[in-house]
């Protein structure tokens, strides 16, 4: 008998993928002034699709294929980072992460409500 349904595993996976994306975006902000650097982002939907069926606790498939390089206008030193855009993406990703975390917590609470009754 599977105790935790597929919604819970989907939510778990979304947490992992969101964190992978957060790492990439943090790298963009850190390199906002590095000459020649092009910002990277993760195509979230594609990465999530590729991760379907992965069991809880198993490592996710590599995300190389889903990393997009940005086409922003380069500055004089060849750097293409738009810091404002990067910060907004970072904030949004963090909010979505928090939402997934809350959702999975709530699902488990519902299970517990029944178990404790």
């Amino acid at each position: 008998m599977k105790l935790f349904d597929s919604t819970v595993s989907t939510l778990e996976r979304s947490l992992d993928v969101r964190l992978q994306r957060q790492n990439l975006l943090a790298g963009d902000i850190a390199n906002a002034n590095t000459p020649g650097y092009s910002p990277k982002d993760l195509n979230f939907r594609e990465a999530m699709d590729a991760a379907q069926g992965v069991e809880s606790g198993q490592p996710l498939p590599p995300i190389d294929a889903f990393i997009t390089q940005s086409e922003g206008t380069p500055g004089l030193d060849g750097n293409r980072v738009d810091a404002d855009h990067a910060l907004v993406q970072l904030a949004q990703n963090a909010i979505q992460y928090g939402a997934s975390a809350r959702a999975v917590g709530k699902k488990l609470e519902i299970l517990r409500a029944v178990a404790d009754s």
């Binding site: 919604t7 939510l11 979304s14 809350r102 959702a103 709530k106 029944v114 009754s117």
Partner: protein
């Protein structure tokens, strides 16, 4: 089972009157059917919450809708559990009565 205490069932007053029309309660308004309908509601809310959460996990959806759906599902589950406990208690009390 028309003499069961009815104060714990979270249904609207009008359906209560219908339930306990003395011995002539219509069959489709019996207590058992009401319970089944209520459980169906709770289940539907769980499924809706699951659907919303899955959409959220996949990058779509709407934050407040998802949060509401989850909260409703939880509340409904609590109410259903409480109702079930009361029914079990009532049943046990009846069984204890000496005939």
């Amino acid at each position: 089972m028309t003499s069961v205490e009815n104060s714990f069932i979270p249904v609207a007053p009008s359906s209560q009157r219908e339930l306990f029309k003395g011995g002539e309660a219509a069959d489709d308004a019996s207590f058992g059917n009401e319970m089944i309908k209520a459980i169906g509601e709770v289940d539907k809310l769980q499924l809706q919450a699951d659907a919303q959460a899955t959409t959220l996990a996949n990058g779509g959806g709407n934050l407040h809708e998802t949060a509401l759906a989850l909260e409703k599902a939880e509340v409904a589950m609590h109410v259903a559990t409480k109702a079930r406990n009361k029914v079990v208690d009532a049943y046990q009390e009846i069984m204890r009565m000496s005939v």
